[in-house]
């Protein structure tokens, strides 16, 4: 009996769903994010208007003053849909847990400077109430907002703010004890220094327009607060007492995107390309030791090194032997390793041989 194995290529009839293809303008393979986001917002066939807002539909564009032709242009640059979001957060959480373990197992919290500990607790513990406010506001946006592109990002941000609040709580429990949380709540409710911020957070709870709420929470408040709390204050504490608290606030510090737009490496235009000269270039590639060694002293192992792309005579270092420098300049390996050695020089040998004959 003979069995033939054969490769059969089965090409799918369609690359993606029709509504995604309409959106992309062609039937081409789409990312999971695009497939899980575009056209997911419910738009028609709502049966009843909600009792709590009988003027409008269940999902209604009119709950904000913002008008959009297409709500799906508010795409998430991180491309978070459920799968990629949970994976990314699982990774962050793993790191954060490892940091907490590290601080705990080495007793870093106990050996932390006491005045710095007081400052850290007084500052970071009340912030858990701010983070809880962020949780609530982002939840509001995802509930009453319109367009899956932005409402799903709001929901993730809502969960993230809860995570921030929880990590701040654990910071309090690790650096102090339960009474610190009570004291933090008391300061949040009563200490004059916190009242303007508390007023802002509580005022934001009654902002009805969900997009206004989005701007107030995620751009105005977080835009200022995260940079202050997890960069400026963090730096100050680091200088005073070392990086223990930085490790414990790693999650919020890494969660909040770097401030100015265009500061993300992928939103920056690529740097202008500098033509690479292979000789004498100290700043070649940074990958591995082999490549670097090749580049930094190419004449040492010139047989294996790449030939210089366009060497200028000035590039031949003075430490190079004269015969190799000539070869280097002419972009050819020297025909004779030792031009002075007439015995071994094929060009002169031929002359000798002719003379002998």
């Amino acid at each position: 009996m003979q069995i033939d194995l054969r490769n059969v290529s089965i090409t799918p009839l369609r690359q993606t769903y029709n509504h995604i293809a309409d959106y992309l303008g062609a039937d081409k393979a789409a990312s999971r994010y695009v497939e899980a986001t575009m056209g997911v917002q419910g738009t028609t066939n709502f049966h009843y208007r909600p009792n709590w807002d009988p003027e409008r539909e269940m999902f209604d564009e009119r709950r904000t003053a913002i008008k959009m032709k297409d709500w799906y242009v508010l795409k998430d640059p991180r491309q978070y849909y459920y799968g990629s979001y949970t994976q990314a957060r699982a990774r962050m959480q793993e790191t954060a847990e490892a940091d907490f373990d590290f601080v705990e197992s080495r007793g870093l919290a106990d050996s932390y400077d006491d005045s710095a500990r007081r400052a850290a607790l007084d500052f970071y513990i009340p912030l858990r109430h701010v983070a809880w406010g962020g949780n609530l506001n982002n939840g509001y946006q995802s509930a009453y907002g319109y367009g899956t592109a932005i409402t799903q990002a709001s929901l993730y941000a809502s969960m993230d703010q809860l995570g921030v609040a929880q990590y701040l709580t654990r910071l309090g429990l690790l650096m102090g004890n339960e009474s610190e949380l009570e004291a933090g709540k008391h300061a949040w409710m009563n200490a004059p220094a916190w009242q303007p911020l508390r007023k802002y957070v509580e005022d934001s709870f009654v902002v009805k327009d969900w997009f206004e709420n989005f701007v107030a929470q995620n751009m105005a408040l977080d835009g200022l607060l995260f940079r202050l709390a997890y960069k400026e204050v963090d730096k100050h504490l680091n200088e005073r007492a070392g990086p223990t608290v930085s490790m414990l606030t790693r999650f919020p510090a890494e969660w909040f995107p770097r401030p100015a737009s265009g500061s993300m490496p992928w939103s920056r235009p690529p740097p202008p390309r500098v033509p690479r000269t292979r000789c004498c270039s100290k700043s070649g590639t940074r990958t591995g030791w082999r490549v670097r060694r090749k580049r930094s002293r190419p004449w040492r192992n010139w047989r294996w090194a790449r030939k210089p792309a366009r060497p200028s005579p000035a590039c031949a270092p003075s430490s190079m032997p004269a015969w190799l420098r000539r070869a280097w300049r002419s972009e050819r390996p020297s025909p004779t390793p030792f031009p002075g050695d007439r015995q071994n020089d094929p060009s002169t040998q031929r002359v000798h041989r002719a003379a002998a004959q």
Binding site: S31, P265, R306
Partner: protein, 92 residues
């Protein structure tokens, strides 16, 4: 007339490599896209560049070019790699 020899890179065809393939096709104008069962092969005459910045634009997060190796099947050409670029060519 001497023909420029091809270099190619073959990647598994899955959700992770799709943006990488798109980035390679965007960065290499002469690229030939050859889809095979469970594999994507990209042939380019002369020189093939995989650019980190383009992949990052496609996937919306930071990318380490070493992640390429997870889904890499095979390739031809001499490799010149840096943090920003992975270049295949026959140039010494």
């Amino acid at each position: 007339m001497t023909q420029v020899p091809n270099v190619f890179i073959a990647l598994q065809r899955n959700e992770e490599t799709r943006p990488i393939v798109d980035a390679i096709l965007a960065d290499n104008p002469g690229a030939l896209h050859d889809e095979q069962p469970a594999m994507v092969k990209i042939n380019v005459p002369g020189r093939l560049v995989v650019r980190r910045s383009t992949i990052e634009q496609e996937i919306g997060r930071e990318f380490d070019l070493q992640e390429l190796h997870v889904n890499l099947i095979t390739l031809t050409g001499h490799i010149d790699e840096s943090d920003d670029e992975f270049v295949l060519s026959w140039v010494h």
